[in-house]
């Protein structure tokens, strides 16, 4: 059992038209890829044109199998795309397709927990299959698009085109976002007992947000009806 801490050494260049800089596919950063490797081998894992060692200092310590990324990762896409168990935490912001299907695959993360202390780019949870994503900050456009199942908790603000094509899963949000017309049901008030069985990460104000779900009723909207979806968007009433 190992906890790996990856601290950013250099920031990627801004994504401007002049530089045509590509975003970095961070999906290989995963505890199950690290399990039997030495620190030197982990540093050699390829992230597209460069390696983990080019971008990060890597340290390991005793602890449950987790990976913690520290730095400004707005240009790092597909973080946790292949996660199936354990925890992956980003102390900072994360890029697009967080936990979302990478590398032409049909499905995104299939288990475990991703925790982001900052903000997240577009397409968070795209085609995710199972597991949990906890976001302390804001999310960009198309979050939870084509979500297959799983849980995404968002304590901050939410961009447009939320949950488009969502089939199943739970989106637990601090306030109900503007949704595309007709795709989701009217809100229904109810208790939300399952909240008491899920322990939130003790990060940011997630604990405080989560206690609101347990102490009061919630409003739930179901959809996306355009795809026959049975997903739910839940917010404290």
């Amino acid at each position: 059992m190992t906890k790996w801490t990856l601290t950013q050494k250099q920031k990627p260049p801004e994504n401007k038209v002049e530089t045509c800089a590509e975003n970095i596919d961070a999906s290989p950063i995963d505890a199950k890829n690290f399990g039997d490797k030495s620190l030197a081998e982990i540093k050699k894992i390829s992230l597209g044109r460069q390696t983990i060692g080019d971008w990060f200092d890597v340290q390991d310590s005793d602890g449950p199998d987790t990976v913690e990324l520290r730095g400004d990762l707005r240009r790092f896409d597909h973080i946790g795309a292949a996660l199936s168990s354990g925890e992956l935490k980003v102390v900072g912001d994360a890029g697009n397709f967080l936990g979302g299907a990478a590398d032409g695959k049909r499905l995104g993360m299939s288990g475990g927990r991703i925790v982001i202390t900052g903000n997240v780019g577009d397409y968070a949870g795209h085609r995710m299959r199972r597991g949990e994503i906890w976001i302390c900050g804001n999310v960009g456009r198309f979050a939870a698009a084509h979500m297959v199942a799983g849980t995404i908790v968002i304590a901050g603000k939410i961009g447009h085109d939320f949950a488009i094509g969502m089939r199943r899963g739970s989106l637990i949000v601090s306030q109900m976002p503007i949704l595309a017309d007709g795709r989701f049901s009217d809100p229904v008030e109810s208790d939300f007992l399952i909240a008491s069985l899920i322990a939130p990460p003790e990060t940011g104000h997630l604990v405080e947000f989560w206690s609101r779900l347990q102490d009061q009723q919630v409003s739930t909207r179901r959809g996306d009806r355009a795809v026959g979806g049975q997903g739910e968007i839940v917010t404290p009433h």
Binding site: S85, S170, S190, L193, I194, I198, E232
Partner: protein
């Protein structure tokens, strides 16, 4: 033989058997609903002879002790085989817990397949009642490498939350002691004192009505179809007809039967129960305490009263 508060404790032993066991936790919006679901679930669960399982409340849980922070009860269940337990538990969950307003059901033994490979289905089968509207939630938890799985099944008061499955573990059934005396009042008092004292002990139950059985049984019968029949050696009305184990001044016997998750849990509960019974009714109608066995040939767990009471 020892004497406690004027009561003779025989140097006999209780003979108990290996069983398969599990524990579930039932909660409700308030204590009454939790109790209603639990009483239904554990009803008709006195003896494996015809009930399929022996099951009862292990103890009441405070909201701080339950997974969802509501009032609840922990229930132990024992069966002669794993397959019987796998049959009985989902049946009772479906008819007695799912049906009870506000109830929820959780595994009472923590750990996934890597810790306890044998599993009893809970929500794994009951989820289909949701007719496709059921929702699964898997969340990280200590002892579960892949997370702990719950099912949310839409029902008429909201959602029935039910854990996916629970571990099946080994248990011991048939621990016992007999209270012998000369009045119904005295032996009832002794019985109730014993069961009250044993009520909150962990890892054991007394599944019979009020914790006690008056129809102690022996192996076999004159009727070929029956494999158990009345324990005539302790029947007062047969004292002059059969080789009786009752003494002349003993006119009544009641048996407290104990199922437990470990030898120590049963041994400790016998000590607690016998002590309480002797204190309550010693010198006042409770004359003797003994234990039931089959000569040591049938069950491998022997609870010698003399050792247990030390």
């Amino acid at each position: 033989m020892t004497i406690l508060n004027g009561v003779t404790i025989e140097s006999e032993f209780a003979e108990a058997f290996d069983m398969k066991a599990t524990r579930v936790i039932i909660t409700g919006h308030d204590r009454q609903w939790a109790l209603d679901a639990t009483m239904a679930m554990t009803g008709f669960g006195t003896s494996v002879i015809a009930c399929g399982i022996e099951t009862a409340i292990e103890r009441e849980l405070s909201p701080e002790e339950t997974p969802d922070g509501r009032p609840g009860f922990s229930v132990l269940a024992f069966a002669v085989s794993g397959s019987e337990l796998e049959k009985q538990i989902p049946r009772r969950v479906g008819q007695c817990v799912l049906t009870c307003p506000t109830s929820a059901l959780y595994a009472g033994i923590v750990g996934d397949k890597s810790m306890h490979p044998k599993r009893i289905p809970l929500g794994k089968t009951i989820r289909y009642f949701g007719d496709g509207n059921q929702i699964s939630k898997v969340t990280p938890a200590a002892g579960y490498a892949k997370g702990r799985r719950y099912w949310r099944i839409p029902v008429m008061d909201g959602e029935f939350v039910c854990e996916h499955d629970v571990a099946r573990i080994n248990g011991i059934g048939g621990g016992n002691f007999l209270l012998l005396g000369n009045s119904i009042e005295a032996i009832s008092k002794a019985c109730r004192a014993a069961v009250d004292a044993m009520r909150d002990l962990p890892d054991m139950i007394t599944p019979f009505p009020g914790g006690a059985a008056r129809s102690g049984s022996k192996v076999g019968s004159k009727y070929p179809a029956l494999f158990a029949s009345t324990n005539d050696a302790f029947c007062p009305t047969l004292r002059t007809m059969t080789p009786s184990l009752l003494r002349d001044d003993e006119t009544i016997a009641m048996e407290i039967v104990i199922d437990g998750l470990s030898f120590d849990a049963i041994a400790n509960s016998i000590k607690v129960g016998v002590t309480a019974a002797c204190k309550a009714a010693g010198g006042n109608g409770l004359l003797r305490v003994t234990a039931g066995n089959y000569g040591g040939k049938l069950g491998k767990h022997h609870f010698h009263l003399a050792e247990v009471m030390q």
